[in-house]
Amino acid sequence: MTKVLTNSGLQLVLALLVAPLVSGVINTLKARLQTRRGPSVLQPCHDIFKLLRKGMVIPETASWIFSAAPYIVFGTATLVALMIPMTTTHAPLSLFGGVLAVVYLLALGRFFLALGGLDTGSSFGGLGSSREMTISAIAEPAMMLAIFTVALGANSTNLSEMASAAVSQSWRFLAPSQMLAFAALFIVLITETGRIPVDNPATHLELTMIHEAMVLEYSGPYLALIEWGSAVKQLVLMTLLVNTFFPYGLSADWSAQAVAVGVVYYFAKILLLACLIVLVETTNAKLRLFRVPELLMVAFILGALALISTFLF
């Protein structure tokens, strides 16, 4: 019991600190690739701290749902971060929620954020909520198919078991099914984190924005909670991707040395994945909203192919 609590505390601190950094790294790398200097890597952290020390402006039309949504977004994202193996194969709360709980908890956060977007009565909020719920619904089957492919290989939906199974066959990612599932999940990652070509996190243009439209009326500490929660969610999805397919450096115990090695490997893997995201973001243009389903259909077919190839090979 105490071990679970201390491990949870450690992983919570790690996730909360690393998550904004990852966003910062992606922004800086993207700027460098576009031959700009770009903001500092710490900029998202500065933003969050600045927002936390500001006052709040609440729309008159909003009800308690508007105020509850940031807490739920932040709570679900951080809770999910404790269910996912980061530096060792044992996630602190892995027993209490596997990959299905992760997906559905993130959906709970999204549900309330979409309600918060609609609560203000502004059309931007409704627009963002509508698009966010639509795109995430279309992304869901692709995500589940890819996850099922991995889960069937590991014979468990428990993330620690999945990570252990991956560790025991560390070259498994070369199997066609795993590669296809990785590709499908990567597209879902781009979609769920609202990056180009699905959504542009840097814009506030009403015709294109999705996530930003939903949170348009939030300010101050509430906005900080949402931004921080979204960063943690992004980190969780990236971790899911790197640790289930490339389990290098994951050890089975919580000894100081193992954790240190795990942390170094973990940072390296996340950095590589961030580079991949940056490459995709820089080399693609944002898709029209109604082209996004086609992209997600590709992900779904990749997932289905992944599943069929587990069956064949």
């Binding site: 807490y71 739920i72 209490f96 929620g97 009565g121 589940m144 099922f148 101050g220």
Partner: protein, 698 residues
């Protein structure tokens, strides 16, 4: 099996009543409460207030007694059966009370309790306007027939109860008979109800023919002697019969027509429990009496489940009539239940009783959960309708301020039906996922691919349901009121809130306490599948739910709920830093420089579902018409009319041609029914001769 056969002489009835086992006595008392309610309210038809009291109090008493009997039946290891001969061949008042019966009776009791309390205030507006006595009569007749449907152990008793249920439901659906829409919906309902009753009659005739008796107990041994064709025919007939009642696609068209037009407390019962009689029938016939169906049949149930789930939620998304939207979600959830049931049937034949048990528990738990949250949502919609007088979401909005408690209850129902943790819908969907994943390991051949694919479609369903309930809750309860109707809304009366609160509590406690509840499925799986499965799902001192396989998936809704509460602490601390120094300021919403934001700027339900209408345009075939009225230039229109509709594919492509065919056929038949009495006498004579010849020949 303890069988009590009552002697037909009524002199010893009292003595027998005293000797009855408690389960039987409580059950009989609950039936008596419903009978008393039915005739009591009918007798007091001149005094509507008394009729209302009688109707609600008798309903509540019957529900409490029925609930006691259900709990006794669920925990009792063996089935209790008792029978009263009727004197008519093949027909007897036979009842049997096993765990499956107990489970469905419990769902019934939970719902009837809530609805009866709710109706106490809800029926008040009928006083002086409508016939409460007749309403109470039909209401109790429906409850009585439902109770008998779940307990009958004789095919004819079952069919009679089934028919009474359909007719009572028809009377209640057409309670607002002045509306043309209501009458049409009622007609459609009664036609479909009779098609399903016809299928069941044929199905039972097949079994009775083979066994020579109409008692359910005599069906079990004869299954082995049925030929392949007979088994196929029995499966198809029962699946059609129960499937139409459950509202599976493509036989669903009556459901979104009939459920919304009934009074809301009745809609809640219809969607909550009446369609579940179809699920009960499938479980009773396929798993218990037939002892399993061929694996293709299980696969068919699974596939129909997937289709119903996905199409049901897609049609729900396009609705902006709050009650029709909920009715379409019933089709979706029946689909999810059938996914579990189909998996259970497949595993049963493949020889995996443990997996079949998990799948059956998933299906049954979702049945109960859906009964509870759908009843809750319909009661919530009923409160909205009661307070504003409209079901059209485009005229609602902002109701969270005048109706905070209704809004909270509806929100809990919406989260639960979207399958989001930590509420009860999540637990049963999680179990469904686990049994589908297990199906991939447990079966061979190419069909195993279907299981994870079905799982991904379940994911799509869940995510679309979440989108739909964001729409339903937000457009109805949040932001600004969209019309005068919702501006003058008021909170529902207290007993209506108590009815909804009870179901809200049930949603939360079945979600957080799922591990405590699921152990009660032990007896049911033992009776139906020969293995106690419920307890194997629970590990780590009743805190963690597992998939029943070693090292498989685990989840704990209780820990998730605690975790969310604990993580609330840091976020509240973080927020308080900022608000302590600068406080919260309430300002108008940014209006893009327009003179103030009004309800006309708000997103509507139609707008919310527009992206999905575009994406799934293959299915919807949407049409829209825009007319602009202008004086000088089209760039400065005075008013714009917008009309958008989707094509009701099943109605247009399947039922329209069918109706045409039936009408054409009937017109042909008219020639032999010319109204001449001589011709009719001749027909009777010819038929008589043919029958005699047939009898002699045999």
């Amino acid at each position: 099996m303890g069988v009590v056969v009552w002697p037909s002489s009524s002199s010893s009835l009292l003595r027998d009543l005293i000797k009855l086992p408690p389960l039987c006595a409580i059950f009989a008392l609950s039936l008596a409460a419903y009978v008393a309610g039915a005739f009591g309210s009918l007798a007091s038809w001149r005094r509507p207030v008394l009729a209302r009291y009688l109707c609600c109090v008798a309903g509540l008493v019957g529900a409490i007694l029925g609930g006691f009997a259900a709990v006794l039946g669920m925990i009792r290891g063996t089935a209790a059966a008792w029978s009263i001969p009727s004197g008519i061949p093949l027909f007897a008042y036979s009842f049997s009370y096993d765990a499956l019966t107990g489970f469905f009776s419990m769902a019934l009791a939970v719902l009837v309790g809530a609805v009866s309390v709710y109706s106490f205030s809800y029926l008040k507006e009928f006083e002086g306007k409508r016939n409460i006595a007749f309403f109470g009569f039909l209401y109790h007749l429906l409850l009585l027939s439902l109770t008998v449907v779940f307990t009958a152990a004789n095919a004819f008793l079952f069919l009679v109860a089934w028919e009474v249920m359909a007719l009572a439901a028809y009377g209640l659906v057409t309670f607002y008979y002045e509306d043309r829409e209501t009458r049409r919906a009622g007609l459609l309902y009664v036609i479909m109800a009779h098609i399903d009753a016809g299928c069941l009659l044929l199905g039972f005739a097949l079994l009775i023919n083979a066994s020579g008796s109409a008692e359910f107990a005599t069906f079990r041994p004869i299954v082995a002697h049925l030929s392949g064709a007979q088994q196929t025919a029995a499966f198809v007939l029962f699946f059609l019969g129960f499937g139409i009642k459950a509202g599976i696609i493509p036989f669903h068209i009556w459901l979104p027509a009939a459920h919304p037009v009934a009074p809301s407390n009745i809609s809640a019962l219809l969607s909550g429990i009446v369609i579940k009689t179809g699920i009960y029938g499938m479980a009773r016939i396929f798993l218990d009496l037939l002892g399993g169906v061929p694996s293709w049949a299980g696969l068919l149930v699974l596939i129909i489940g997937v289709i119903s789930a996905v199409l049901g939620v897609l049609y729900a998304l396009m609705e902006h009539d709050l009650k029709r939207l909920l009715a379409y979600h019933s089709i979706e959830n029946i689909g999810i239940i059938l996914m579990g049931l189909g998996a259970a049937l497949i595993f049963r034949v493949a020889g995996h009783p443990q997996l079949a048990g998990v799948a059956l528990i998933a299906a049954m738990f979702h049945t109960l959960n859906h009964a509870i949250f759908k009843c809750l949502l319909f009661l919530g919609a009923g409160s909205v309708l009661h307070s504003t007088g409209t079901r059209n979401m485009e005229e609602l909005g902002g109701l969270i301020r005048p109706m905070p408690i209704t809004a909270f209850c509806f929100l809990i129902g919406a989260v639960a039906i979207s399958g989001l943790p930590p509420l009860n819908g999540f637990v049963s969907e999680w179990l469904t996922y686990q049994s589908l994943l297990a199906g991939y390991r447990a079966t061979g051949g190419l069909t195993r691919i279907l299981f994870p694919l079905a799982g991904s479609m379940l994911a799509l369903t869940g995510a679309l349901a979440a989108a739909c309930f964001v729409k339903a809750f937000a457009i109805t309860f949040l932001a600004l009121p969209r019309g005068a109707l919702s501006r003058h809304a008021h909170e529902a009366p207290r007993t209506m809130l108590i009815g909804m609160g009870w179901l809200t509590l049930a949603c939360v406690s079945l979600g957080l306490g799922a591990t405590w509840f699921l152990a009660s499925f032990n007896v049911m799986t033992e009776q139906l599948l020969g293995q106690r499965v419920g307890a194997s799902l629970i590990t780590n001192s009743r805190l963690v739910l597992s998939a029943g396989t070693p090292r498989g998936g685990t989840v704990s809704t209780a820990v998730i709920a605690i975790g969310l509460f604990v993580l609330l602490v840091p976020s509240i601390l973080l927020v308080s830093i900022g608000t302590k120094r600068f406080g919260r300021k309430q300002t108008p919403v940014w209006d893009c420089g327009l003179p103030g934001l009004s309800e006309e700027n708000e997103y509507t339900a139609t707008a919310f579902s527009k992206p999905l209408r575009m994406i799934f345009s293959v299915l919807y075939k949407p049409r829209r018409e825009i007319q602009a009225v202008f004086d000088v230039s089209p760039y400065f229109p005075k008013e714009i009319h917008f009309q958008s509709q989707i094509e009701p594919t099943f109605e247009k492509r399947l039922y329209e041609p069918l109706r045409e065919f039936i009408f054409r056929f009937s017109r042909r038949m008219r020639t032999i029914q010319a109204g001449s009495i001589h011709a009719y006498l001749a027909y009777i004579f010819v038929v008589l001769v043919l029958l005699l010849l047939f009898g002699v020949h045999k």
